[in-house]
Amino acid sequence: MAEKNRIKSMFSDYFLKIKEMINRGKTPYFVTLLYLSLGTILVYNSPRSLISFLIFLSSTLLIYYLKMDNRAKIALAVLVLLGLMPVLGVRNIFYLEVIFQISVYSALALGLNIVVGFAGLLDLGYVAFYAVGAYLWAIFGSQQMFMLHAIPGTAPATSEFFLPANAFFLFLFLGVAVAALTGILLGLPVLRLRGDYLAIVTLGFGEVIRVLANNLDKPLNLTNGPQGITPIQRPILPEPVINIAQTILKPLVGRTVSMGEFYNLFFYLVALVIIVIVIVVVRRLDDSNMGRAWTAIREDELAAISMGIPLVRLKLAAFATGASFAGVMGVLFAASRTFVSPESFSFMQSIGVLSMVILGGLGSIPGVVVGAAVVTILNLQVLQGFSLYLSQLRQSDAVIPIINFAWKNLSNQLDPAKYQRLVFGLILVLMMIYRPAGLIPAARRKRELVTAKNEEPESDSLKEADNGAS
């Protein structure tokens, strides 16, 4: 044990030394720029390489962590996110999909982080609020309103849409409101419950929303049942903007950019704006009265109540805030996919978002974003790459040497891309056992874990306090 600690401290010493070395004078600027240009060149030249993409993405971490002027940091971040990312993304649409998904999941994870990380309420049905937002725009932004009395699956009578396409922007705000309202409605009865019961009840709520989406095709055809709603409108991109973007992007990308790619870009940018808003809100919340009250609730409800914190109201606020972020992303999701079905809002999605938060670090903003990026890349690139590799092996005549097993005979069901649960499960268990504070622990959480280790777990006095409370 002592040996292990010694090695650990040795590593952290080296790490600190390197950090000091880089952080001297103007070095951080050079290092970042060098690294960034390396990543950009690599991604620009290799269409589907995971490693170069990771190098490029990790440059954002470098920007965040190195000691630089704040203005320079912001400028660099803007350059990466608004300048380089779109160009590289449009050049290779696969990357654009990945970064779009990362941004969607980052926003979701940041929202869940408020509920789980700040207020300590384990919400296992988070994706329900996402579904509420998605179905909100799906029902009003498609022809569904004309088919309320039709049998699911029949074609709509008109080709008109119920609302103009640009109502999308209004619905972004409506999504916030409706999801927050749903959060409050669910929260009112269940937030008095203890943490583990709350987890199960929210899980149940998630399933209820999914089952409702699946079955509300009768008596009134609201959701079109398991077939889902399609087509859903996208907002209209103004002609001049497209033309300007086209003239800028065409020489950089080397071909004309299609309308679909512009839409991907547009939704990526909207997601980015939402993320920035979320981050600003979350940062301000964290240091506000409310944020500290949440921490107090998470630490010790009893003590928080006795300090005069209105428990249920604050828990509701956390629930509603988290839900509202999911709601707005839901609206965005519905518009970007032009299709929603109950399939997209399964329990697995909720756990996926939870595993992002846990992996990155409960309560830590950069951690959560990193967690979202890592899990999304794992799902979209690593697992799928592995699937591709396996299917290539299956078509070849290769044989595993010792056990004499021909790859051809490998079952088709063995498709790593479908084994997301395995990944989520492993992340959750391993993180809880070895690094409960996450990859990038929140400062406050870090301190807590140190004190928690020194305390005797479940002492008698604690139990008595419980009995007294009931």
Partner: protein, 391 residues
């Protein structure tokens, strides 16, 4: 007579039997009464007319005709839930922690049992054996499922829960969710390696699919016909035996006493010379074994299983445990039976009573509605002691 009940061992064996009979008849009578009353009150309404149009008989007769079958199905399902719920409730009683992975422990039991039967059946051997041999194989399959599930439950406890003992409450819960997801895909991986698909169907053997007719009463134009599938009888008997055995184990043996003492006060129990870790493992073993047996019974009743088969039964069993009062063995039994009844009644009658607007597809979320209602109005459950709001 009095001397028989004076023996504690026998009393503990027979007490659950009495409880089961009371719970089943009680909840059955109450629910049937409610349904019949509702049907009676709705005479002549639109619902009644729609039923007459569709089935040719009025609502009251329809309800009455279906009642015996629904009750039998309810009891079968209720016992499966009760057997799973016992696993949740035992672990909760000892560790105050929801073993989220219990639903996958259940699935593992089902898969091991079914795989064993499939292996024995290779070439259709099982189909031709005599009834007694078939029952023998079923019992072996159940035991295999129990052993596999019990061992897996212990393994999960040692690897994923024990390092986290003493951590904040949500930490082991998150770990348990992780284990649950991991096991789902692990089962899927193992099952799809050998064959092209990951679901399994239990071989048909013995006389389990036959129906035993109990009675048939003529009621005007229609008849009330009650028949039970043999496998339902098997499920009920097996579950009752398990529940009796468990009750005996926990309440009348030294081992049970140790488990109860660990549940009551861990530090003091360890001061009294009880090896706490061993008894926690043992709790997981017993709970897991019950879950595994329930898994094989579930497979027998519903024939098709897949790696995700445990999810809904697991959640419902948890609801049952909460409904009865989590941590309380009798409560789990009661909760399971009541939940099985409610679910089957909803499945059978919801569609008729709402004129097709909401049908059996909502029975899966009925459990959650019950869970939320119970937690709001009586968090301690029907039979439970008061539990703290927080900890």
């Amino acid at each position: 007579m009095r001397r028989i009940f004076a023996s504690p061992a026998l009393r503990e064996l027979l007490r659950p039997l009495g409880q089961i009979i009371i719970f089943v008849t009680g909840s059955g009578v109450v629910l049937s009464g409610i349904m019949l009353l509702l049907a009676f009150l709705l005479r002549g309404s639109a619902v009644d007319l729609a039923t007459i149009e569709r089935t040719g008989i009025d609502l009251f007769t329809y309800t009455l005709n279906n009642l015996p079958q629904v009750l039998i199905d309810s009891i079968t399902l209720g016992f499966v839930y009760a057997a799973i719920a016992l696993g949740y409730t035992m672990v909760y009683g000892v560790l105050e922690f929801i073993n989220f992975a219990h639903s996958e422990i259940f699935a593992i039991g089902a898969f091991v049992g079914v795989e064993l039967l499939i292996a024995v059946n290779a070439g259709g051997k099982l189909e031709s054996v005599s009834t007694w041999v078939a029952y023998g194989w079923l019992i072996i399959a159940i035991f295999a499922g129990m052993i596999a599930s019990g061992a897996m439950a212990m393994l999960v406890e040692v690897t994923a829960y024990r390092p986290l003992r003493g951590a904040p409450r949500l930490v082991p819960l998150i770990s348990a969710i992780g284990v649950s997801f991991f096991l789902q895909d692990a089962i899927r991986l193992v099952e799809s390696l050998t064959t092209g698909q990951y679901h399994r169907i239990i071989p048909t053997f013995g006389n389990f699919d036959e129906r035993v007719s109990i009675f048939a009463i003529k009621m005007g134009k229609s008849t009330i016909d009650l028949n039970i599938q043999v496998k339902s009888i098997v499920v009920i008997i097996a579950a009752v035996l398990m529940l009796m055995f468990l009750n005996y184990l926990v309440n009348a043996t030294k081992m049970g006493k140790a488990i109860r003492s660990v549940a009551q006060d861990r530090p003091t129990a360890s001061l009294m010379g009880i090896n706490v870790n061993r008894y926690i493992s043992l709790t997981f073993l017993i709970g897991g074994a019950l879950g595994g047996a329930a898994g094989v019974l579930y497979a027998l009743k519903f024939t098709r299983i897949d790696p995700f088969v445990g999810f809904f039964p697991g959640l419902k069993a948890f609801t049952a445990a909460v409904l009865g009062g989590i941590g309380n063995l009798t409560g789990a039994l009661l909760g399971g039976i009541v939940l099985g009844m409610l679910e089957n009644f909803a499945g059978a009658y919801l569609s008729v009573f709402t004129m097709g607007a909401a049908g059996a597809e909502y029975k899966d979320i009925l459990a959650f509605a019950i869970l939320i209602l119970v937690l709001i109005f009586r968090p301690s459950g029907l039979l439970g002691e008061q539990v703290g709001q927080k900890a």
